[in-house]
């Protein structure tokens, strides 16, 4: 299980960083926000990334993708994290396409994966119902009606839900709210009678949706009643990818802050010459190095058939460590910038906001630490 990048992967990292810095520097995200862009991301940028093959990076070649691994996905998202470049990568590809891929349903795969990889079709995954992350707490119902299912209920915090063409929705076909068994996944057309999609702008200037479903027509994806198995697998993959984005975000916030420590002069000296700040900067650097290793281990495990059983534990380890660190780094980054750090004008605050969003997304620190403990046998 390699913990370092191959030569090809290093090349991809350099290309991804160069492309993102040119096509979507931090000003890109700020401009989308200031223009009140409805999607919260640029469809033009998304098409360019699809043109480079990145949108379909882990989608098999047979379905129009590059058939690369999750290490490559992490490399691309880490680059996006550095400039806070907003894309529907997590929502449409990791979560949406991820469900289609994991379902093993080849007809749906043939139909949906090529346009997703091409950047022409957007999916979103509607699985949450409560503010605290609890993917098995599903009370949304699915009723069988001759050839189709009809969904009833309410889904919240659907990432990029207001931009998606199709939704994957978790709903209960048996059992009680909270049961692992009895959850099934369904594919729903986003524009149809009975489905109301309300957009919310989030703290990080992105968009999530609340979906109200009243007898919405839906097709089953994957095995009936076993949606939780699919969901857990997909969420683990997305969690590792999101952690990689957070690593990019935190690395950049740290580097911006380090540069500030070297240039900001007070008491006739650069403030980075003060020991109180130096020691804290060392811990930001040190913990970044430590956390990077966990994320690389989790990505590598996803790419190695023999390590797949370690994935859930490593995914939770990665997110738990990454969220703890992102709190520390963004808190320190604002504090070390002093007054300017509190302003909307300076970019460092945008890192704090995106960090908060990614921390709470797909399970926060305590959720993943408890899950890590459980999967470790205690």
């Amino acid at each position: 299980m390699p913990l370092t990048l191959s030569a090809e992967q290093q090349l991809l990292r350099d290309n991804a960083n160069q492309f993102i810095r040119e096509a979507a520097p931090i000003g890109h995200m700020r401009a989308l926000r200031d223009r009140n862009n409805a999607d919260g991301f640029s469809r033009e940028l998304w098409r360019q990334m699809a043109g480079l093959g990145w949108v379909g990076s882990f989608i098999p070649e047979a379905y129009g993708g590059l058939g690369l691994g999750y290490t490559e996905v992490g490399i691309i998202l880490e680059a996006c994290g550095r400039t806070l470049a907003p894309t529907p990568f997590i929502s449409s590809v990791l979560l949406g396409a991820g469900c289609v891929l994991a379902s093993g349903d080849s007809a749906t795969q043939r139909e949906l994966l090529p346009p997703i990889a091409a950047g022409d079709l957007l999916l979103a995954l509607a699985f949450e119902e409560t503010p605290r992350f609890a993917p098995h707490r599903v009370s949304c119902r699915a009723e069988r009606a001759s050839n189709v299912y009809r969904l009833h209920g309410r889904k919240t915090f659907v990432l990029d839900g207001g931009s998606a063409d199709k939704l994957v929705v978790s709903a209960r076909t048996s059992g009680a709210t909270g049961d692992r068994r009895g959850i099934s996944l369904f594919l729903v057309d986003a524009h149809q009678a009975g489905l109301t999609v309300q957009r919310t702008r989030t703290i990080d200037s992105r968009q999530v949706a609340t979906c109200h479903l009243e007898a919405v027509e839906a097709n089953l994806v994957g095995a009936l009643g076993h949606g939780a198995d699919l969901l857990d697998q997909v969420l683990d993959r997305a969690t590792v990818a999101l952690s990689a984005e957070m690593l990019g975000l935190c690395t950049e916030a740290y580097e911006i802050t380090l540069e500030y420590l070297k240039t900001r002069v007070q008491f006739d000296a650069p403030i980075g010459s003060f020991q109180a700040l130096q020691h804290r900067a060392v811990d930001m650097f040190g913990k970044l190095e430590l956390t990077k290793s966990v994320i690389q281990a989790a990505s590598s495990a996803l790419d190695d058939e023999e390590s797949l059983e370690q994935v859930p534990r490593l995914a939770s380890a990665a997110k738990a460590q990454m969220t703890t660190l992102s709190r520390q780094i963004t808190r320190e980054a604002i504090q070390m910038h002093g007054g300017i750090g509190m302003t909307d004008e300076h970019n460092i605050g945008l890192y704090l906001k995106r960090a908060a969003a990614t921390e709470l997304m797909l399970g926060d620190t305590t959720h993943h630490r408890a899950r890590f403990a459980k999967l470790s046998g205690f």
């Binding site: 390699p2 913990l3 370092t4 380090l258 420590l261 070297k262 000296a269 650069p270 980075g272 010459s273 020991q275 130096q278 020691h279 900067a281 060392v282 811990d283 650097f285 040190g286 190095e289 430590l290 956390t291 990077k292 290793s293 966990v294 690389q296 281990a297 380890a317 738990a320 460590q321 305590t366 630490r369 408890a370 890590f372 403990a373 459980k374 470790s376 046998g377 205690f378």
Partner: protein, 396 residues
């Protein structure tokens, strides 16, 4: 993954035929004053035999050149040797400051004559070195040291006066490498690095009793001690550079221990014993969370050590993460001891007499002796200063 090779076959055959069975699975020998029980005579004899036959083949320092008592192995051959030793669960034949610190430093800064006189003796275990750096008035500010060395009229010998402190294992050593002041007018450029035979008259060694009740360290006093000018390493007044090289070896040795990886089960077992289980989980949520956080941090550190080794073998260069190991391994180790203390509850307070268990008192003493780890070899604060300056390039 072990790969077959002729070298592996040779090593395997040699170890199988020669290494005493009694050493398999046995940990490194502890100095008598810290060991729980003295070792049986047959084990002591086996260790001596093991040392001598490993030394004959250069396996105590496998990567050193053959002419200096090593085996001249490549990195990959040395790894193979280590894998074969691990497979038989054999402890290292020789540890200590000779092989880990002064030897590597001599390979960098020693003259040919010095390498020939010292390295083979270190490799065979004949010369056992201790370190004379810190002084009562020179701790973190090491360059403030005052133990003086004055050259006599012959120009061949130095007369040393002063004292050193925190000298690990001085009571078991027969040589000392030390920093002495040879120029009072220049702080950093007035220090000389010299090797001194501890059997000469005028040296007094006094063990220091620590919080743990053990004595890992000594004070060493020098009264008109005679040392040889030919045993100065590097230039006179140029000892600070040599010392920095040696401290680099010291710190990298402190941060690569293997015990990071497997401490988890121990803590989980302790926690479950202490508060019980609920559905296989540690029943107390707070303790469960504390154990989980510690294990996560240990996982991150051990993966980073692995990543550094992987990157070093691919590029041949040590990455910046190396510098962090001493710092975080010591801090994490202390957190683990502290957590173990909480998990043992009032048992952890038993010191001696009725009602004490050997594991519990050993753990308590380990917690106390572990206080040294964030202080020796440069305190955690000094480590952070160094990383801030050398890696983060923050201004001073």
């Amino acid at each position: 993954m072990t790969e077959p090779s002729a070298f592996r076959d040779e090593v395997r055959a040699f170890l199988a035929a020669n290494v005493p069975e009694v050493l398999r699975g046995r940990p490194v020998s502890m100095p008598a004053e810290t060991a729980a029980n003295p070792e049986p005579a047959d084990v002591i004899a086996a260790r001596a035999k093991y040392l001598s036959l490993m030394a004959q083949r250069g396996y105590t320092v496998p990567r050193w050149p053959k002419e200096y008592g090593g085996a001249g192995l490549t990195a990959s051959e040395a790894r193979t040797l280590q894998e074969e030793l691990d497979a038989l669960r054999l402890p290292p034949a020789l540890l200590g400051m000779g092989v880990s610190m002064i030897g590597p430093t001599l390979l960098v800064h020693g003259s040919d004559d010095q390498k020939q006189r010292f390295l083979p003796q270190i490799a065979s275990g004949a010369y056992r070195f201790c370190q004379g750096f810190s002084e009562p008035g020179a701790g973190s500010d090491l360059a403030a040291l005052r133990t003086s060395a004055v050259l006599d009229e012959s120009g061949q010998r130095y007369l040393i006066n002063g004292s050193k402190i925190w000298t690990s294992g001085a009571q078991h050593a027969n040589w000392i490498f030390m920093l002495v002041r040879t120029d009072l007018s220049n702080k950093h450029n007035g220090i000389t690095f010299i090797l001194v035979d501890m059997s000469v008259p005028g040296i007094e060694v006094k063990p220091i009793r620590l919080l743990s009740g053990h004595s890992m360290f000594c004070e060493v006093f020098f009264h008109d001690v005679v040392a040889q000018a030919r045993d100065v390493i590097g230039p006179v007044n140029g000892g600070w550079t040599v010392a920095k090289t040696l401290l680099g070896f010291e710190r990298s040795g402190m941060g690569t221990g293997r015990r990071v990886a497997n401490s988890g089960n121990e803590l989980v077992t302790l926690a479950k014993q202490a508060v019980g289980e609920h559905d296989g989980m540690i029943a107390d949520g707070g303790l469960r969370d504390a154990v989980a956080q510690l294990l996560l941090d240990e996982l991150a550190l051990s993966l980073t050590i692995e990543r550094a080794a992987e990157s070093r073998s691919a590029t041949g260069v040590a990455g910046p993460e190396m510098s962090l190991f001493k710092l975080y391994q010591s801090e994490l180790g202390q957190r683990r001891e502290e957590l173990a203390l909480s998990l043992r509850g009032s048992d952890a307070l038993a010191w001696e007499g009725a009602g004490t268990s050997p594991e519990s008192t050993a753990a308590t003493r380990m917690w106390l002796s572990g206080k040294a780890t964030t202080i020796w070899g440069g305190t955690s604060e000094i480590q952070r200063n160094i990383i801030a300056k050398r890696i983060l390039r923050l201004p001073s």
